[in-house]
């Protein structure tokens, strides 16, 4: 009984902290491997697009960043639901640790989209439905981070932020479709994103880069959640022991 593997054990920061610390190097290593493979395939192997030239290669960053920006919001909402339903401490910390990475991905997606759009569409920004909803997603991330930063009490910050995430997740489809209909009615730009069937190497490059971004996000979120844990649990014995141990190592 004592030795049985129990997942709930890791719901406690004291046990999750060393566990996360042990996992981080693996995720970093896997992320670097996938990243190098993806960049090699994307930058060197994949053929030049006959319509878009070399400029299309920015999609190897753009598409994974957009995927991650949406996926991370869903993961945060999942943690929020767990946190509100089971009243676990770790869930709120995980959601807060993921938020800056999600916002970064949304920003990267917008930035690379603009850099790609200038040579392809001739404009840094068009009010396309996807661009607009990505922008709104960035606003939602910023709103979440602003709310949790404004609440001093960590428990209230977790719960209020969690509620906001759930409200946001319910609203995302509504916002997306309203923006889409708005866009088709206004007929702002006649840009067609639909591509002809993509070369297999391009697809593989993109998937490898997506894996790289995914692993990077996990690694960085674990690093961030470790610092959040130390900050919040600073009055406990295990944090003191942890910090004293580290200080002892350095001597």
């Amino acid at each position: 009984m004592k030795d049985r593997f129990n997942l709930y054990r890791f719901a406690s920061p004291a046990t999750f902290y060393p566990f996360a610390g042990a996992l981080i190097p693996y995720f970093v290593a896997v992320s670097i491997v996938f990243g190098l493979a993806g960049l090699w395939l994307g930058m060197l192997v994949a053929p030049t697009d006959f319509q878009q030239g070399e400029g299309y290669r920015i999609i190897f960053i753009h598409v994974p960043a957009s995927w991650m920006s949406m996926f991370i919001y869903l993961v945060m909402a999942g943690w929020a639901a767990i946190g509100l339903a089971f009243n676990t401490r770790l869930s709120g910390m995980m959601a807060q640790a993921l938020a800056p990475t999600g916002a970064l991905m949304a920003f990267l997606s917008l930035l690379t989209g603009a850099l790609w759009g200038k040579p392809m569409w001739g404009a840094w920004w068009v009010w396309d439905a996807r661009l607009t909803s990505e922008l709104i997603l960035l606003f939602l991330y910023i709103g979440y981070m602003a709310l949790t930063a404004a609440i001093d009490d960590a428990r209230r910050a977790d719960k209020a932020g969690g509620l906001l995430l759930l409200v946001g997740v319910v609203n995302i489809p509504i916002i997306y479709f309203s923006v889409k209909w708005w866009n088709t009615l206004h007929q702002g730009s006649s840009v067609n994103l639909a591509k002809s069937s993509m070369a297999t190497t391009m697809l593989w490059g993109m998937l490898l880069m997506a894996m790289c971004f995914w692993m990077y996000s996990i690694a960085i979120a674990l690093m961030r959640v470790r610092t959040i844990m130390l900050e919040r649990e600073r009055h406990t014995d295990w944090v003191k022991a942890e910090l004293l141990g580290k200080a002892g190592d350095e001597k």
Partner: protein, 222 residues
Amino acid sequence: MFRIIAAVIGRDLKLAMRRQSDIVSALFFFIIVVSLFPLGIGPEPELLRKLAPGVLWVAALLATMLSLPRMFADDHRDGTLEQLALAPHPLGLVVTGKVIAHWLVSGLPLALIAPVLGIQFDLSTDALVVLTFAILIGTPALSGIGAIGAALTMGLRGGGVLLSLLVLPLYIPVLIFGAGAVDATVSGLGGEGHLSLLAALTFASLGFAPWASAAALKIALE
């Protein structure tokens, strides 16, 4: 169930009537913001007619948001909110009453003044009717969604700015369908589809938002 909602509406309306300057200043904020646009972009009737739906709706969003922090703040300060939370009635019903009362003092006056401002923008009679109707059925959704933001930011420093950060992205669908209804009428497509979606948003947010904000209030009152 309806008794408690009606009681809360009556109480909030009575409180609002004792402080009429709040209602009037939000209304004048709406009028002033709308009037600033022609000054900023020039008086060409063609241009103004095109901009009117968007300008009026954005101003309505901002004016509604202006009065949101007061929805719970005063009751929180004097302890009424805690008593309401302790009462045997579900807190969601109390919040429903507060949302309706908020709409009566913030959304309804906007709808009543909107046709006058629409005339300033040289809108046709059809467009004016649709504009008024859209604001009438769209603003309850603003009060409902806003209640969630007001409950989440209750008692926080910088609450007003934070509230706008949380609530404005969620207001986007209402803005799109509200302004879209008028646009579609002007261009001859007919705004019924937009108005139906606007009504759907209103009913959905009146159904769900009070319970979400009740949950947020309980978190804040812990």
